[in-house]
């Protein structure tokens, strides 16, 4: 029974022109607009995954005690520090193919950047600046320097960032996909056929949930393919990225079906869902980047979209992300709790008129 329900609902969703517009064209257009608007900003912060830097440490420098820690931190971020006690920095950079060179003086440091490695130089400057700001008051202290890992800028450009993020954002707008079915069911009171057939609330819920997830996944996969083929968007680990997006669609569909089953109004559902998702997306980095947004960290932490966005972007630029498991757990929890609420709401409404 469920198979035929899912199959026919899916057909209706895939035949809808509004769904093609919403899940294939809209993410592509929005990503293209945002990419274009924020290209310069993102390029400023783009950094490669690893590069080599030379340095010289003057005797009696305030940086002396903290140097090992600084090197460890930079090593973690893919920056190899090699010491050169002699030689001209520019000549060493040319000869040793170094991306940058740092001279740590008594109370200051001098950074040499390679014109051809501008992004590496800026990244190094950013990281050293962040580290020194947090360490400098204690540099002269001995014996140990405790340093928190500084914020590191992922190496991502605007094309990749928005090409990925907008797919995730539209995954959270999944209820539109079901609107074509639910609106017709309400208009023509088709629900009465289900009510008198004795179909269980769980089956009814699954028959609505699954086709939406499949249809939205197909639409967004095509949109992602357009991004890859025509805009050169780079996704990271394909399997993990797909899993993160899939779980986000599950969470979104479940959450938005709760609103629909509670209000029985598609208009109210779309307004409430989109308002909630827009705010979550705003703080979660769907419009301005999550790395440099002005939103407080607490608001980012409260947005489920933030975890998915960050996981996908880090998978793209670093190939791994600690946020993958967080995103999967949060999306899964929303989806499961939402599903239980949905079945409960359907049972509650049964027989009421």
């Amino acid at each position: 029974m469920i198979f035929y329900l899912i199959k026919n609902y899916l057909k209706m969703m895939l035949r809808s022109a509004s769904n093609i517009l919403m899940y294939i064209l809209a993410p592509t257009v929005v990503a293209a607009v945002l990419t274009s608007a924020f290209t310069t900003l993102m390029d400023t912060y783009r950094a490669p995954s690893s590069f080599e830097v030379g340095y010289r440490l003057d005797e009696g420098s305030v940086f002396e005690n903290g140097m090992d820690t600084l090197k460890d931190i930079l090593k973690d971020k893919g920056v190899t520090m090699t010491e050169f006690s002699e030689g001209d920095p520019e000549e060493l950079m040319n000869r040793m193919e170094l991306s940058a060179f740092v001279e740590f003086g008594e109370n200051e440091y001098l950074l040499y950047k390679d014109r051809d490695a501008r992004i590496e130089g800026q990244t190094l400057e950013y990281i050293i600046g962040e580290v020194c700001d947090s360490m400098l008051p204690r540099f002269s202290e001995t014996p140990a320097i405790k340093v928190e890992t500084p914020f590191f800028v992922p190496a991502v450009n605007s094309t990749d960032y928005y090409g990925i993020i907008e797919i995730a954002y539209f995954a959270w707008c999944s209820i539109i996909c079901g609107a074509v079915v639910f609106t017709a069911e309400k208009k023509y009171r088709i629900g009465r056929r289900f009510a008198m057939s004795g179909v269980s609330e769980l089956k009814l819920y699954i028959s609505r949930l699954v086709p939406i997830i499949i249809a939205v996944s197909i639409g967004l996969a095509l949109s992602a393919a357009v991004g890859i083929l025509f805009f050169d968007v780079h996704w990271g680990n394909a399997f993990l990225s797909a899993l993160v997006v899939l779980m986000m669609i599950f969470a979104a569909t479940s959450f938005e079906l709760v609103i629909y089953n509670a209000t029985s109004s598609m208009v109210a559902t779309v307004v409430i869902s989109f308002a909630v998702v827009w705010f979550m997306g705003f703080f979660g980095g769907s419009f301005e980047t999550y790395m440099f947004s002005s939103a407080p960290q607490i608001l980012k932490d409260l947005s489920p979209i933030y975890y998915g966005n960050r996981a996908l972007v880090e998978l793209s630029c670093m190939g791994r992300s600690d946020y993958v498991s967080k995103s999967l757990i949060i999306s899964g929890a929303i989806g499961v709790v939402g599903s239980a609420v949905n079945v409960g709401l359907l049972k509650l409404r049964k027989g009421r008129s």
């Binding site: 198979f3 026919n8 057909k11 023509y188 009171r189 289900f194 009510a195 008198m196 027989g351 009421r352």
Partner: protein, 253 residues
């Protein structure tokens, strides 16, 4: 009357919305194999009664006994013996005719080859075989009404409930639908039929109940109802009987 002949019985069926009583202690018995007409002015409680019989709306009080069993307690077992053709065109315009029948027939657990046969049979029955691959949204009003019926008969119900199935269609389609209702009845199905077209009800129904203010106020054959009003039944129509019994005052002003 032999109890075995009763396919559906309502006992003290009542529906209240707040203090407003829509159906008031309704007790009707539908005999197996008959076509039973339910008439009433707008707001009489016909649709609410139908919805309670079909388990779409829970009664405030009372029960529905279907095929000798309490319907609510045995819903899973009994629902497959009931077919409801709603007044609204409860079909999906973005599905083809056969897909609509597949969707609604599969709700009763029919699948695979049997389902395909039932789809063919249902579409053949309502004369839409040649239009099976057309989208329902391209159909005329009469064709949609016929598809609406096809979606409710695929699971071979013993009791068919038609809620004003001929509203807004041309005489040819109406005649076709009425003929199909009679054919279903000849094939063994019991039928409950509501309509505002008195001549239709008189033409096809074995017994007729007139409902008003949530109660059955008259029940019997067409001739028996006419005798309630005049001695010479040839001088009066069913519509005149209906207006005499329920009054001429507008109900939905």
């Amino acid at each position: 009357m032999d109890n075995n002949e009763i396919i559906l019985r309502t006992k003290d069926l009542t529906k209240k919305y707040g203090s407003h009583v829509v159906v008031d202690n309704l007790g009707i018995e539908i005999r197996k194999g008959e076509i039973f007409g339910l008439l009433g002015p707008n707001g009489a409680g016909k649709s609410t009664t139908m919805n309670m019989i079909c388990n779409i709306v829970n009664p405030t009080l009372g029960s529905v006994e279907f095929m000798g069993k309490d319907f609510r307690k045995n819903k899973k077992e009994l629902c497959r013996h009931l077919g409801f053709i709603p007044q609204d065109l409860a079909i999906h315009g973005n599905l083809k005719a056969w897909e609509n029948v597949e969707l609604f027939t599969s709700l009763y657990g029919i699948k695979g080859r049997e389902l395909r046969e039932r789809i063919d049979e249902s579409l053949e029955y309502v004369g839409l075989s040649e239009k099976r691959n057309d989208y329902a949204k391209t159909f005329s009003g009469g064709m949609k009404r016929r598809l609406n019926i096809a979606c409710a008969i695929g699971h071979h119900p013993d009791l068919l409930i038609f809620d004003e199935p001929t509203v807004g269609i041309d005489p040819q389609s109406r005649n076709f639908i009425l003929e199909k209702i009679k054919q279903s009845n000849r094939n063994g199905a019991t039928v409950i039929y509501t309509s505002h077209y008195m001549e239709e009800v008189e033409a096809i129904c074995d017994r007729i109940a007139i409902m008003d203010n949530g109660k059955i106020i008259a029940i019997g054959t067409s001739d028996e109802l006419k005798k309630l009003v005049v001695d010479d039944i040839s001088t009066v129509t069913l519509e005149e009987v209906f207006l005499t019994i329920t009054g001429k005052k507008l109900r939905d002003y």
